[in-house]
């Protein structure tokens, strides 16, 4: 049964810091950050083609939410998807190889940045259509509920997507069917070159949950432990069959909408805004908290170093990977007809 009204889920005040949990979240966040730093450099130098939409600055959301999920839980992602895919455990080498358009990439070189997927980790893919992942995640939740498993689906999307019809239809559907889905809106204040408040009635996303009788929470997306607490509560609710939750995580991306868009649009955001958020870097904040709680600096440094090495190794793996076989342009439109009759491949 849907909840009555929009009960705010309190962000849990953490008196003590669970260092082991904190390290796990930090590990995920660093994997995202060090990966994106490589991507930024490579795209800037022209070695990577196409569009990349960097997740730098938002790691507190993907890292923390994914740390609260199991490998067999599902996520859908959007065009700014490296963060979600890596956060869920995606291999840096296969992500990078895909950006390099090599056959060893997650999509065999046929998708690129916006279509990374790894079904073994429940990643139903980054998606290049704003809002498209919202109904898909809802369907994955329907699937687990009908199959009788306790798998949860998490949908990552931005403030812009919350104005798509798909958002409203999906929340309504999830509410009436009490589906095990957590909708995580990364409100980074900007949709490409437009401030969120200009195009969003009431200037906030979380209150929309009340219209559908779904609980909601607004959380500081750059406080990874707070995000984890809110997400854990929502995921537990879903897993227990108590239905969906909408989480609005306030954050900022540190780069422009997509790399290269600065040349077209110029810098849209004032320096003061970027400086404010740079000072609230989620990785620095979590490191600081862990250090304050007793984690050794050497341990934190070692973690960062090994992840940085992993990111560099991913680049070398990608660079030395083969290009796709030309014949692969013609495959994977149709799945093999394992139990259909006849079913001509075309």
């Amino acid at each position: 049964m849907p909840n009555d009204g929009a009960a705010e889920v309190d962000t849990v005040a953490r008196d003590g810091v669970d260092i082991e949990l904190g390290l796990e979240i930090l590990r995920r966040m660093l994997r995202i950050r060090r990966f994106e730093e490589r991507v930024e450099a490579l795209h800037g130098s022209g070695e990577l083609l196409g569009a990349v939409h960097l997740y730098v600055g938002q790691e507190g959301v993907a890292g923390a939410v994914c740390a609260a999920l199991r490998d067999d839980d599902f996520i859908t992602s959007n065009h700014r998807g490296h963060g979600h895919v890596v956060g869920k455990g995606g291999e840096l080498s296969r992500c990078m190889a895909e950006l390099f358009a090599r056959s060893t990439g997650y999509c065999g070189g046929k998708g690129g940045s916006m279509h990374l997927a790894d079904m073994s980790l429940g990643i139903i893919g980054a998606n290049g259509i704003v809002g498209a992942g919202i109904p898909i995640a809802t369907g994955a939740a329907l699937s687990s509920s009908m199959r009788g498993t306790d798998q949860v689906s998490v949908c990552f999307f931005g403030d812009g997507a919350a104005n798509e019809g798909s958002f409203h239809e999906s929340l309504n559907l999830a509410a009436i069917w009490s589906l095990p889905v957590v909708y995580v809106c990364e409100n980074n204040g900007w949709g490409e070159a437009t401030r969120m408040e200009v195009v969003t009635a009431r200037g906030a996303i979380a209150p929309r949950a009340e219209a559908y009788g779904i609980p909601s929470a607004t959380v500081d997306g750059n406080d990874a432990l707070a995000v984890h607490a809110v997400a854990s509560t929502a995921i537990a609710r879903a897993r227990a069959g108590e239905g969906p939750t909408l989480i609005e995580a306030m954050t900022r991306r540190m780069h422009e909408h997509s790399q290269g868009s600065e040349m077209i649009l110029g810098r849209m955001r004032p320096d003061e805004e970027l400086d404010l958020w740079r000072a609230r870097d989620p990785i620095a904040a979590l490191r600081s908290k862990l250090a304050g709680a007793g984690a050794e600096a050497s341990e934190l440094d070692a973690l960062d170093e090994s992840i940085t090495a992993e990111a560099h190794a991913a680049v070398e793996f990608a660079r030395s990977s083969p290009h796709p076989d030309p014949a692969s342009a013609f495959t994977d439109v149709w799945a093999d007809d394992a139990d259909a009759t006849g079913g001509a491949a075309s």
Partner: protein, 322 residues
């Protein structure tokens, strides 16, 4: 009846495979007649949705990608357009973009064509557009046996399949084989054999072509009627073989002519079987106007038996000795 054959197919596949379920507006009450009696027989698996085509089809995509076999009933072809992003950008594309790492065994079911008196927003034939999206199989059976066998195959197919129920064939009666009856996708049906001209019909146009063929037979012309029934993949080989035999082609498509599937069939024959043709191929289709409400206006824009008969007569007028 075609509608009853569809219900029988759903019943059998629901019984056979627990992953199969149906969702759509008013499928519990079986407003379209296709799911009659199934809601009580399969509790929880015939799911009424809100009127939310986009989310319903998208949820079908997500459920299909994660272990289920959904049948999404969006009622009528024009309502597909409301869900077009999930159809165009997702259902047919996810597998390819993701290098084959997921599949989308989803069946989408809608009525197509003009039911009569329903006007422009309830009378479209969307198959050409959907074929051109890529990655979606498209089926248009015209007999109860084919409806049953092809829907069963569609549900078992690991790809997204658009299963179309032509408005003009719902009440068409015919024999359905006993037992497990599956029709492989991608094979055409020869509805009537003949020697002098090949007529390819789509949807109810197959039946109108057969009626025209009966008239022409009495006049001494032998007409072969082909029902592709599977529109994508489409069995062009059967059409080429027929044109090789007859040398003459008429294609009848209840759709606006520009960029229609009928025009694609004409083009393929012209390009790949040109040597077989004794005369230019003919296309009978709706003009590029919408389907009007008034019955006499609607009859004008949708191909009728007499239009088909007249086209065949003029095409075969030069046949010597007949």
């Amino acid at each position: 009846m075609v509608t009853k054959a569809i219900t029988a197919a759903l019943d059998e596949e629901l019984a056979r495979d627990e992953r199969v379920f149906v969702m759509g507006v008013d499928v519990e009450a079986a407003l379209m007649g296709r799911t009659s009696g199934l809601a009580t027989k399969y509790p929880g698996r015939i799911r009424n949705t809100p009127i939310s085509e986009h989310a319903t089809l998208g949820a079908g995509v997500g459920a299909a990608a994660t272990g289920m076999r959904p049948v999404v009933d969006l009622m009528m072809s024009n309502f597909l357009y409301v869900a077009f992003d999930q159809l165009a950008n997702n259902a047919g594309k996810l597998r390819y973009m993701m290098g084959g790492s997921l599949s989308c065994p989803l069946t989408i079911m809608v009525s197509t064509g003009a039911p009569g008196g329903m006007a422009a927003q309830h009378s479209d034939s969307p198959y050409a557009q959907v074929i051109n999206l890529g990655g979606i199989k498209v089926l248009l059976p015209t007999t109860p046996a084919d409806a049953k066998g092809m829907l069963k195959s569609a549900i078992r197919d690991p790809n997204p399949v658009l299963f179309l129920v032509h408005s003009g064939v719902g009440a068409i009666r015919g024999e359905v084989p006993d037992g497990e009856h599956l029709v492989p996708l991608g094979s055409a049906r020869i509805a009537r054999e003949g020697e002098d001209v090949t007529v390819v019909g789509l949807g109810v146009m197959v039946h109108r072509a057969v009626s025209a063929a009966e008239q022409l037979e009495a006049e001494g012309t032998s007409v072969e009627v082909i029902d592709p029934r599977s529109l994508h993949p489409l069995d062009y080989d059967t059409i080429f073989a027929s044109v090789e035999k007859t040398g003459r082609l008429v294609v009848v498509d209840e759709a606006r002519r520009s960029c229609s599937l009928g025009s694609e069939i004409v083009a393929r024959v012209a390009v790949e079987a040109f040597g077989s043709l004794k005369a230019p191929p003919r296309l009978i289709a709706n003009p590029d106007v919408h389907v009007p409400f008034a019955p006499e206006l609607e009859r004008q824009v949708i191909p009728q038996v007499e239009d088909i008969a007249e086209s065949i007569r003029s095409l075969t007028a030069a046949v010597a000795g007949r």
